[in-house]
Amino acid sequence: MWSALEKMPAPATTYERIVYKNPSEHHYMKVCLEFQDRGVGLNAAQFRQLLISALKDLFGEVDAALPLDILTYEEKTLSAILRICSSGLVKLWSSLTLLGSYKGKKCAFRVIQVSPFLLALSGNSRELVLD
């Protein structure tokens, strides 16, 4: 009787190489919302609503419904990792750039990192501080 760990090993796989051009259906953005005044807080749902209204203000109802996910959100620092369909990246990014206020309070989005590969957003070499 063979146990699961004693099975005959499968033969070594053959070499194969695939080059994908523009394979990512999504792009990922690491962003941070900064307010001119302190003390403004948003929860994840309010943050998402803000993104939707930014898209709607610039591009209208249809693009406000672009598939957009908040993969991570930190309420303390108002920073998030967003996932947007690749065809909506330019629209989302430009909406974030042109957003100037939330409930009458001046604010701005800082786009820290953008990549079609989510793994690239787990580290940012430009944040390496050595001084």
């Binding site: 760990l5 090993p9 499968a10 070594a12 796989t13 053959t14 070499y15 194969e16 190489r17 695939i18 080059v19 994908y20 051009k21 523009n22 394979p23 990512s24 792009h27 990922y28 994840a44 749902a45 998402r48 598939p67 996910d69 908040i70 993969l71 991570t72 959100y73 990792i81 996932r83 690749s86 065809s87 909506g88 990246l89 330019v90 629209k91 990192q113 953008v114 990549s115 079609p116 590969f117 989510l118 793994l119 690239a120 957003l121 787990s122 580290g123 940012n124 070499s125 430009r126 390496l128 050595l130």
Partner: protein
């Protein structure tokens, strides 16, 4: 119409996925690790593991040190003394600190002794050196990584600091994880996930994203690619700093030996991210920063010594070798 089309366009990116076996004579895994010089972050994921083995832990703790030298004139890197002491030994890498490859002059030293200068037009004309235009667009603070601790005494006339890479170790429980078959790089319907799906999932794990959202969730609908299984636990290890390719080779070798004894894990992963502002990606392939500056690779090491290698680059990059 052209404007509408441009609104939907994104910068070109490439993902190369390869599969092979470590036992194959022509396997290029060593060469590809050794020729990716400027590494910022190394991440390891081991499914069904609660604690690192002593050998792996020692290797992880010994990936440093690296050195930070302020206001180092460039000519110090081409003196006979420097070349004999460090460059000829073959393990010396350097990269200018806090210089953006898309804005500033950037210099890199490769282990084979090549000095790469990426300069703006004015600086290039001032140097009078012969160069070539970038395929895609002074006195600076330098950072080094070297095998020798003689680095501290060699640059004692300058402000030099020794740094150790930052290491983060953690375990996650109840982790949803894609099912893979080592022979099926493209995946198999209902049976296995593809290499690009695995890479995406790995990004979600290391970004600490929620992997199990409902399709009607307002905040996020992201979920683990299917088919998937649930791991009781997984070990995550991240090393951040300026890491030599030789150290990464040692880690890769040790991970290959992970399966010398029977393990519950079907595979382990080793991911490496390059410095966004390095002027080269692999070998002397030009690297640039369009929107992301990413150049990264990931190994999936299976328990039968098969492996997958994914190499990803952005717009201002040559195709990985």
């Amino acid at each position: 119409m052209a404007t509408l089309r441009r609104l939907r366009e994104v910068p070109r990116h490439l993902l190369v996925c390869e599969k092979s076996n470590f036992g194959h004579d022509k396997s290029r895994h060593r060469h590809l690790v050794e020729t990716h010089y400027h590494n910022y972050r190394v991440s390891i994921l081991i499914p069904e593991c609660g604690i690192l083995s002593k050998e792996l832990k020692n290797l992880v703790m010994e990936t440093g040190p690296y050195y930070f030298v302020k206001n180092l004139p460039l000519h110090e890197l081409i003196t006979h003394d420097f070349i004999n002491t460090f460059v000829k030994k073959g393990s010396c890498c350097a990269l200018t600190y806090n210089t953006n490859i898309d804005e500033d002059n950037t210099v890199a030293l490769l282990p084979d002794g090549k000095l790469i200068l990426s300069l703006d037009k004015d600086t290039y004309e001032e140097t009078g050196l012969q160069g070539r235009p970038s395929q895609y667009s002074g006195r600076k603070i330098m950072k080094f990584s070297a095998e020798e601790s003689t680095m501290m005494s060699y640059f004692s006339n300058y402000q030099i600091q020794e740094h150790q890479p930052k290491i983060a170790l953690s375990t996650v429980t109840e982790l949803q994880c894609p099912v893979l078959q080592s022979s099926a790089l493209r995946g198999a319907p209902e049976a296995a996930c593809s290499a690009p799906e695995l890479l995406d999932w790995l990004g979600a794990v290391f970004s600490h994203a929620e992997l199990n959202n409902e399709p009607n969730n307002f905040i996020s609908t992201y979920c683990c690619p299917q088919p998937s299984t649930v791991l009781a636990k997984a070990y995550l290890c991240t090393i951040t700093g300026f890491i030599l390719p030789e150290k990464i080779c040692l880690l890769l070798e040790q991970l290959c030996h992970y399966f010398d004894e029977p393990k519950l894990a079907p595979w382990v992963t080793l991911s490496v991210q390059g410095f966004a502002d390095s002027p080269v990606s692999w070998r002397e392939n030009e690297h640039g920063f369009r929107k992301g500056g990413e150049h990264l690779y990931n190994f999936v090491i299976f328990n039968n010594q098969d492996y997958w290698l994914q190499m990803a680059v952005g717009a201002n990059d040559d195709c990985p070798p």
